[in-house]
Structure formats: structure tokens, C-alpha cells
């Protein structure tokens, strides 16, 4: 019987396999950041161990870093200590670090791919659940805890329990204005936050194949929100074109050998998945969350659901609690939900295509009075590219704040946070209670929906702006 992409990558990394023991897998790339590594380095020190493969390890700073005044000392002493601890640990153990202020700094899951370090057929780990992002390249990539971070530092391997395979097959064409973010939010709403538990998901089908690499990263990024161990997409010409010429991509003969290997990774025609979910791309539309977990979402055109409509008592209770926390009423149209904050950024939607998409909506428009909009590039490089294209000017002209790279408002670990009761349309990945700041309320959306929402002050898609003047409506075509 044939094998799936995930099984092939797994098999190629088995160091030891023995009856009654988990397989010991070799790890090709270990990404580090300041939050989940200090206790791991402490463990190494205590045991007198070194980092086994410095050449497969790289660190950056993202969760705690401010996005304003980055040239000034970090105000929060606890955040400062954590960043200084990473710097000390990297210096002591010899790990390559891209700290705040470095041109390669950024959200760890944006940095790896843009350096060309994330490659098909590799195993990638990081002490961060959104490591699933890297699966977009056909890598087996997953988040790990701090004990495992220490394990990888010391041994470059991990003992891992076997996984099951799930195919999420999306066929057809995504309608105009429907993005990778809408697609993955719809998948999570369909299978639930625990639906992927124990599985490695492979996204496949014609709609997935048509996605750009950055869109594929958005999809794989949120696999963890469905509870999956990882998400993957088979490498193809789109993948190879993205990688070619990147700083750490193979070159010369190595490139040819790598591509030849990468082409062997696709799931065999006769492989069987343990579970399959089929989704019709044409049936999708802009999707937003209304609740406090990423599975509590609905099409933007829908209304807030009535908890009484759930047959499962725990779902009903969860919906009641969510509406209470979110300050929403059953039956309320989602388009009527007004926001005071809009956040564009994060490892989900902080790449250049995301910023271009948001800028295209904002060009020639102003954000609504009373709305605060933060645009945060996923990395310094993304920020520089955006400036080169003039996107920063579009954002500031519209009344948004253009910031420095980092995790920013995705999670409450740095100064960018919601105040209690504030409501945010956010391109990030989690709408948990308090995720963006104590008492803050989060609606997960695509960059396009975020931008349209900022203009109108309520949840909206770019289609809702029809008839309202924007630069794209009035600009005369540039003569060739």
C-alpha cells in the first residue's frame, strides 16, 4: 500500500524503531524564541549538556518584543529579563540569534520560511504550537513543550507517538474575495477544535494547489486550532519557485538533488487516509468567529447562533458562556457587530501578501472614527518590503498605525493589548478569553475583512465597500 506525505517524511527521519517504544525521530530544524526556551537551557546547564547541533538551531525574539520605540530599553522589566535570558543563553551555548533590532528578526514562523530554512521533507520543531505553519512546504512541523525543547537541544531527536492521517480535500475555485483564512476558519468550524486530535492533516485538492505559499502557510498555521498535531501540503512547483534563491535554500547540484527528492514526497495514489473531510471551495465565503474558541465561527453573512440550537449540552453551555464573554446576543447579524480595534499581523497573516491585501482595501480610504488599527509586519524583512512598495504610506494615510515586527496583539505578552471590554477584528489565530489582553474580545478574520471592518467600523468584507470611493475605484490605469 502506498504512503501519505506525512508517513514518507516520518519514515525518512526514524533514527531507531523498536517494538513497544516510540520511534526516535531526527529533527532537521529547531527554531527557538524567548518564551519557551529559558527553562530548557537551564536543564542543559544543570545536566552539563551542550547543544548537539548548533547548525540546525536558530533563535529570534518575537513574543515579548514591543512594536514601538524598539531603540529604547524595554519598559517591562519581566519581558526585558526574558529577552536578556535568551541573549545570554544563545551566547553561552553558541546559538545563532536574531534579536530585536536585527534585520532578520521577526515572528519565528515568518523568519524560518523567508530564510529558506523551512524545506520540503524536513522535520521542524519549535516551542510554539503554530510551528504547524511550516507544513505548508511539505515539512512535518509541530509545536513542542519546553521539556522537548531541551530534548532536541541535547539530542537533535524526539521520541514520538505514532499519528493518524487525515485528508482535508478542498476542490474547486475559491470565490472572489474568499481567502485562505476564510477556508481554514471554515474547516475548523466544521471539524471542531478537537477534530484533528491525534491526526496529521494533509490539505489537498485543486483549491489548495492553487494557493500561493503564503496562503498555504495561513492554512497550515491554524491546523493546531483544529487540535491536529500538524498540517501539511505536498510540495510542488509553487513551493520550489518560492524556495529557489532564498539564503538557505540548496544551491547548485544540491538544488537538483533536493528537488528530485522533494518530488518523491507526494502522497501515493493508493495511499489511504484514516479519515477524510471534503470541502467544496465554491461554497465558501468570508468567515469570522463569534465565540471564544476558533471553532465558533460562521460566515460573515450569518447571525450570531442561538445556544439553544445546539443539541450537545456541552456545546450549548460553551456557546452561552462565549456569548456572555463576547457581549453578543443570539440572532444578532454579524455585520452589525461594531469593533474598536483592528489588528493585521501575526504568524497567521503577517506576511507581505497579507499586508498587500489589507492595503488594497484601505488605499484611498479612511478607517472609521473611533477605530484603532494596528498593522504589524511578521518580520523586519516583510516590513522593509512593505515600505519599498509604499504600503506603509497607504496604512498611515488611512489612519492606521504602522508598527515594527513582532507577535504584537496576537497575545498579551507585549505592550500591544486590548483593554477590558474592547472588541477587535484580528487576523491572528486565537479568540480565547483574554488572549489579546484581559477582558478583550476577539473576532478572527482575514486581512481583507480586517481592512473593510476598519473602514466601516463593523464586521464587513470588501464587497460591503462597493460604491464608497477608494483609490482603486478612482485611479486611472497607468499607461504602459
Amino acid at each position: 500500500m502506498g504512503r501519505t506525505l506525512a508517513e514518507k517524511v516520518w519514515d525518512d527521519h526514524v533514527v531507531t524503531r523498536a517494538e513497544g517504544e516510540p520511534d526516535l525521530l531526527f529533527i532537521d530544524l529547531h527554531l527557538l524564541h524567548e518564551v519557551t526556551s529559558p527553562q530548557a537551557f537551564d536543564g542543559l546547564r544543570k545536566a552539563g549538556r551542550a547543544v548537539r547541533r548548533l547548525d540546525l538551531t536558530i533563535a529570534t525574539e518575537d513574543h515579548n518584543t514591543p512594536t514601538l520605540d524598539i531603540d529604547k530599553p524595554i519598559a517591562d522589566p519581566v519581558s526585558r529579563t526574558q529577552l536578556e535570558t535568551l541573549r545570554r543563553n544563545c551566547a553561552e551555548f553558541g546559538v545563532r540569534l536574531h534579536p530585536l533590532g536585527d534585520v532578520e528578526q521577526g515572528v519565528v514562523h515568518v523568519v524560518g520560511p523567508q530564510l529558506g530554512l523551512t524545506q520540503p521533507g524536513t522535520t521542524v520543531v519549535c516551542g510554539d504550537s503554530h510551528t504547524s505553519t511550516h507544513g505548508a512546504f511539505g515539512a512535518l512541523a509541530f509545536g513542542i513543550g519546553t521539556s522537548q525543547v531541551e530534548h532536541v537541544l541535547a539530542t537533535q531527536t524526539l521520541p514520538l507517538a505514532p499519528f493518524r492521517t487525515m485528508a482535508v480535500t478542498v476542490e474547486g475555485e475559491l470565490p472572489e474575495g474568499v481567502t485562505a483564512k476564510d477556508l481554514i476558519l471554515a474547516v475548523i468550524a466544521r471539524i471542531g477544535t478537537g477534530g484533528g486530535q491525534g491526526y496529521v492533516i494533509e490539505y489537498r485538492g485543486s483549491a489548495i494547489e492553487k494557493l500561493s505559499m503564503e496562503a498555504r502557510m495561513t492554512v497550515c498555521n491554524m491546523s493546531i486550532e483544529a487540535g491536529a498535531r500538524a498540517g501539511m501540503i505536498a510540495p510542488d512547483e509553487t513551493t520550489f519557485a518560492y524556495l529557489k534563491g532564498r539564503p538557505h535554500a540548496p544551491a547548485g547540484d544540491d538544488w537538483d538533488a533536493a528537488v528530485a527528492y522533494w518530488r518523491t514526497l507526494r502522497t501515493d495514489d493508493d495511499a489511504v487516509f484514516d479519515h477524510e473531510v471534503v470541502i467544496d471551495a465554491a461554497g465558501l465565503s468570508p468567515f469570522v468567529t463569534w465565540g471564544t474558541n476558533p471553532g465558533q465561527g460562521a460566515p460573515l453573512s450569518a447571525a450570531v447562533p442561538d445556544p439553544a440550537s445546539y443539541s450537545d449540552p456541552s456545546d450549548r453551555f460553551a456557546a452561552e458562556k462565549a456569548l456572555e464573554y463576547m457581549g453578543l446576543t443570539a440572532g444578532q447579524a454579524l455585520r452589525d457587530v461594531t469593533v474598536d480595534t483592528v489588528f493585521v499581523g501575526s504568524c497567521t497573516n503577517g506576511r507581505i501578501e497579507d499586508l498587500r491585501a489589507a492595503a488594497a482595501v484601505l488605499d484611498g480610504r479612511r478607517i472609521a472614527d473611533g477605530v484603532r488599527m494596528l498593522v504589524v509586519p511578521g518580520s523586519v524583512r516583510v516590513g522593509l518590503q512593505a515600505v519599498e512598495e509604499g504600503l506603509d504610506k497607504v496604512f498611515t494615510a488611512a489612519g492606521a498605525e504602522w508598527r515594527h515586527a513582532g507577535c504584537s496583539m496576537c497575545l498579551g505578552m507585549n505592550p500591544d493589548q486590548l483593554a477590558p471590554g474592547e472588541r477587535c477584528a484580528s487576523t491572528s489565530n486565537r479568540n480565547f478569553e483574554g488572549r489579546q489582553g484581559k477582558g478583550g474580545r476577539t473576532h478572527l478574520v482575514s486581512p481583507q475583512v480586517a481592512a473593510a471592518t476598519a473602514v466601516l467600523g463593523h464586521l464587513a468584507s470588501p464587497a460591503d465597500l462597493a460604491g464608497r470611493t477608494g483609490a482603486s475605484d478612482v485611479r486611472t490605469p497607468v499607461e504602459a
Binding site: 529559558p38 547548525d55 515579548n64 524545506q119 516551542g127 510554539d128 504550537s129 510551528t131 530534548h151 488572549r435
Partner: protein, 201 residues
């Protein structure tokens, strides 16, 4: 890691599903660089409500958390496990755990026990009726026992052995150091390296 064989203690019924790690320990606690001192951050937002189950005087000193399905979803933060342990929990019972949380718990000696939802509900009823009721979580016999409840649970043999013995995973892996070296020797040259470009060794 501290070994886990069997533990008997009072329970806390947490009648909520989808308890994510942001609820277990909010992000601002993750700035700490130690493995201890997280007990006050455990369920921090919910504990502001005096009626929250953990705040009830009869739950003081309880050590077995009985939670709804999909416990520990979200972030990979091991701090969630440390917070539960720092607070005094030795075991968590749920019908389903998020994978990363489960892995983290078993590496720290916090026993996560998967039982059917109806058994979880029986445990809820028992401890709500009698908060002093004791629950035994027996890893040797792979069984949870309480007044009127006897439920076997599964845990893979290898994980169970490591917990019973309190073994250090890294030490176990390093017994395979030669295999790791042999694997490294056969890795293709096109595999990525983080060595700074132009660097000489």
C-alpha cells in the same frame, strides 16, 4: 522527573469543555524564566469570581482535577502543566486532551487520565455531592477508583513505564547516541543548515 505510581486525593469538578492553555495560565505569566511560582496564575481570570469552583473552601487541598472534554487546547506552553503542579494537582481526568498538553504533562509527572465522558460525569456528581470524597488514580493498575466508581484507563506501556520509574527522557535517548550519529552521517547534503552564510568552521 518525579515518579508517579498511585495517588489518592480529593477532586475538583471543572464543568467546562475546551479549557485552553490561555485559561490555564494567561500569557503574561509566561515571561517568567523558572519552572515554579505559577500557582497564582492558574485559571487566573476565572479565580477572580469568588464562586469559581477552585475558590470554594471545600476544594482547598484537592489534587485531582476532573475537567470537560478537550482540556489543554491551544498553545504549547508547558507552563500550563507547571501551574497545575505548582498549585498542587497530581492528576487531571478528561475525556479528551489536546496532544501537546498531554505530552507535556506526561513529561513532568502530571498524570493525565482519559476516561469516557459518562465516567467524568459520574466523578463530577460524586465530588459535587460529597466534596470530601477521595479519588484514587492508580497508574500501576491503570485504574481510577472512587465511591461507586471503578474505571480502567489506557496509557501506552512506554509512557507508563517512564512515569512509574520517573525516568529522564534525555538520558534514555542518549543511550541511542550511536544511532543518532549514524543517522547524521547518512543525511543528504542538501538538508538545510542554520550556519550563518559565509561562516567558516
Amino acid at each position: 522527573m518525579e515518579a508517579f505510581t498511585t495517588h489518592t486525593g480529593r477532586a475538583v469538578p471543572l464543568r467546562r469543555g475546551n479549557v485552553d492553555t490561555d485559561q490555564i495560565i494567561p500569557a503574561h505569566w509566561l515571561k517568567k524564566v523558572t519552572r515554579d511560582g505559577f500557582e497564582d496564575g492558574l485559571f487566573e481570570a476565572w479565580r477572580k469570581d469568588p464562586e469559581f469552583v477552585l475558590n470554594r473552601p471545600e476544594r482547598a487541598g484537592a489534587s485531582v482535577l476532573v475537567a470537560g472534554p478537550d482540556f489543554g487546547t491551544g498553545s504549547s506552553r508547558e507552563h500550563a502543566v507547571w501551574a497545575l503542579q505548582n498549585y498542587g494537582f497530581r492528576a487531571v481526568v478528561s475525556s479528551r486532551f489536546a496532544d501537546i498538553f498531554r505530552g507535556n504533562s506526561l513529561k513532568n509527572g502530571l498524570l493525565t487520565v482519559v476516561l469516557p465522558q459518562e465516567t467524568v460525569e459520574a466523578l463530577w456528581r460524586l465530588t459535587e455531592t460529597d466534596p470530601a470524597a477521595e479519588v484514587t488514580v492508580d497508574l500501576v493498575g491503570r485504574q481510577v477508583r472512587a465511591e461507586g466508581i471503578t474505571a480502567d484507563f489506557a496509557l501506552d506501556e512506554n509512557a507508563r513505564w517512564r512515569l512509574l520509574e520517573g525516568l529522564d527522557d534525555i538520558g534514555l535517548t542518549l543511550r541511542h547516541a550511536d544511532d543518532i550519529t549514524a543517522y547524521e552521517a547518512r543525511r543528504p547534503s542538501f538538508k538545510p543548515s542554520t550556519t550563518p552564510l559565509g561562516a567558516q568552521f
